[in-house]
């Protein structure tokens, strides 16, 4: 690490205090766990307390050694043109990210780090040919002031050769764009992603209990699970518990959420235990999405994500409003992209397609169920099919209602989805290509699916089943420049 490439690019170390954090969390030693399990299985746990203590000490010592080694071998340098990170225990790896490829910087403070006054800095490089895991540089465990310096410096885009160590003159004025209202936490039980967390936790707990040796689990004489009253009581108890867990989960992630505009970037701060500080450049924002799950639509709650060019994992990083009332969400998105106006509904043929699909699935299940009832005596199978068929009608109509598209003077919008309805609002300049698809059935119905290709978010946003005749008009109106006219019939 002795080589000096340019003045001011001396590799820096992270704080030695991070060794403590990593020892306590077994960060490096975690990789050794799969190795340890067979060893433990061979030696066995039968010798009682002494073995457990020895094992615990050994694991801690190993963890400390691994943490110290990786701290010693880790170096980073924020040079005038690029960030260089050196690491690796045996094989050295050097990663260089040019400053102009940096898309965002996130400063994160997990609880252990906060105790020791440290932060973790994640640097997002432009998504390119590298895999998603390679996209970000992580500098784990620098003092808070150094973290702020790094963030300010990496995002300042100074011209090459600017003097090292000079602090940014002063932080530009802040303008608050959104602030989380704690009452919005009540929406959480209706949001799929927050409900999943407690369910997953319960599942993990069950697996853990099952994997424990039988001798450890006390044999409690519980109530008979086959009794229907017990089942009902368990369900009645589970619903409020799940709801509570979802609210708590949402609070932990989104506590004191604030979105402010500081100069040319949007800064989002949030989190109860782990404080996260995410910065996005306004210049790279090409639009946003409003997503509403089935449950969220009941209470008119919405989530807003920004679509940022070159940013991988846009869902996590680009979140502008994690959860909030629809009116608030729409107003927030309107500050980023002009609202193109109310959406145009798709032709009745699109509704027919939705209904045929929903009913077709239901009828197929009913037919299979009838066979199962006749052959195997499963009387409930055709009933389930019938219920599914009846439910297919509102589902088909709901899916049709979600469809829409609109091209405004400076922006465009498309919407689809039923379980999660997503509306994307994009600046016209965001469109880097059009893809038009037509299946044989769509051709007969006079429909087509149009995908606006965008270098942000999921890469493409579709107007599903719009009238085939409207396609050239929509694509021409919704892209900047004249190139999309290529799609309409040749003039001359």
């Amino acid at each position: 690490m002795g080589e000096v490439t340019a003045p001011g690019t001396q590799p820096r170390r992270t704080s030695p205090r991070v060794v403590l954090v990593h020892t306590a969390t077994f960060r490096q030693a975690r990789q050794l766990v799969p190795l340890l399990i067979p060893i433990a299985a061979v030696t066995g746990f039968d010798d009682g307390l002494a073995t457990v203590v020895v094992l615990a000490v050994a694991v801690t010592a190993l963890s400390l050694a691994a943490a110290a080694l990786s701290w010693w071998r880790f170096g980073y340098a924020d040079g005038p043109t690029a960030v260089v990170v050196t690491r690796g225990l045996l094989a050295r790896s050097v990663r260089t990210v040019p400053n102009d490829r940096i898309r965002g910087v996130e400063v994160e403070v997990p609880p252990m780090h906060r105790l020791l006054g440290l932060v973790r800095v994640r640097v997002d490089a432009a998504a390119g040919s590298v895999g998603t895991n390679e996209e970000e540089l992580v500098v784990d465990g620098v003092p808070r002031a150094e973290g702020d310096r790094l963030r300010a410096r990496l995002l300042a885009r100074r011209p090459a050769g600017a003097p090292e160590g000079e602090r940014t003159a002063e932080e530009p004025a802040e303008e608050e764009i959104a602030r989380f209202d704690n009452r919005w936490l009540l929406y959480a039980p209706l949001v799929g992603s927050y409900l999943v967390v407690p369910v997953a936790a319960v599942g993990t707990l069950f697996r853990l209990v099952e994997e424990l040796p039988d001798a450890i689990v006390p044999d409690v004489p519980g109530p008979d699970p086959a009794d229907p009253r017990v089942l009902v009581a368990a369900l009645v108890a589970a619903v409020p518990l799940l709801a509570l867990a979802a609210v708590v989960g949402a609070a932990v992630v989104n506590w004191r959420y604030r979105l402010v505009r500081r100069g040319g970037s949007l800064v989002a701060v949030r989190g109860l235990l782990t404080r996260r500080h995410t910065e996005l450049e306004v210049d790279r924002i090409r639009g946003g999405t409003l997503s509403e799950g089935l449950g969220m639509r009941w209470v008119r709650a919405t989530r807003v994500n920004a679509l940022v060019t070159g940013l991988g994992q846009a869902n996590r990083r680009g979140q502008l409003l994690p959860l909030g009332p629809r009116t608030e969400a729409v107003a927030l998105l309107a500050r980023l992209v002009e609202d193109p106006g109310p959406l145009t509904a798709h032709p009745p043929a699109a509704l027919r397609r939705r209904l045929v699909r929903a009913l077709g699935t239901g009828l197929a299940v009913t037919a299979l169920g009838a066979w199962a009832a006749a052959a195997l005596g499963w009387w409930w199978a055709p009933v389930a099919g019938a219920v599914l068929t009846v439910l297919g009608v509102p589902m088909g109509i709901g899916r049709y209602r979600a469809l829409g598209h609109m091209a405004g003077p400076r922006s465009l919008s498309v919407r689809s989805g039923w379980l999660v309805r997503e509306q994307a609002v994009l600046q016209r300049r965001a469109v880097v290509g059009w893809e038009v698809r037509q299946s044989p059935l769509q051709r007969r119905a006079g429909l087509a699916t149009v995908v606006a290709c965008v270098g942000a978010g999921s890469g493409g946003y579709a107007a599903v089943d719009m009238a085939a005749a409207d396609v050239p008009g929509f694509t021409a109106a919704a892209s900047s420049g004249t190139w999309a006219a290529t799609l309409s019939a040749r003039a001359g």
Binding site: R286, V450, T482, R490
Partner: protein, 169 residues
């Protein structure tokens, strides 16, 4: 392909090299051989009183249908459908055989242009030009052009993209 009334957008002007038909037929033959081996193995090694007796004649029948479609029908339909065009402002393709896909990318947003030649393509003297943009979905792929045409097109696109490039994202 004549323009039909239900088409959402106009078709690109130029068709592919005729050698593409030969290549698709070869691909169909290989696919049929692969499935044929699997079906033969099933018929030979699964005992006659197996779980689903219908499969013993259904699988060979499906194989025969696949062979007719993949070798006798699909290559010609594909050749009639597939078209491409490079205009002043954009690269434009139409692909597919049952479901059709038109893809349009403006030259100003091109990030990279790739020319690839697979093993079969080399036998037939063909190459594929892929025009990539910042979007993972906005990729124009012109399959099976004559190799020298492909290289000329790629060079031309890359040069013009350099001239008119704006932010490209």
């Amino acid at each position: 392909m004549t323009a039909d009334a239900a088409a959402p957008v106009r078709d690109p002007a130029w068709s592919l090299s005729r050698s593409a038909i030969g290549l698709w037929v070869t691909e169909g033959v290989f696919g049929t051989l692969l499935y044929g081996v699997l079906v033969a193995a099933f018929v030979l090694f699964v005992p006659a009183g197996g779980p689903v007796p219908v499969l013993r004649w259904l699988l060979p029948a499906l194989l025969a249908v696949y062979a007719v479609v993949a070798i006798g029908v699909r290559p010609w339909v594909r050749y009639r459908v597939h078209r491409w065009e490079v205009t002043e402002e954009a690269a434009y393709t139409l692909t597919g055989w049952l479901t059709r896909t038109w893809t349009l990318v403006p030259i100003s947003r091109i990030q990279t242009v790739d020319v690839t030649r697979g093993v079969l393509q080399q036998l037939f003297g063909l190459a594929t030009v892929a025009v990539l943009t910042a979007s993972s979905q906005g990729t124009v792929r012109v399959l099976h052009l004559e190799a020298d045409v492909a290289h000329r097109v790629a060079d031309d696109l890359a040069r013009r993209a350099e001239l008119v490039r704006d932010e490209a994202t």
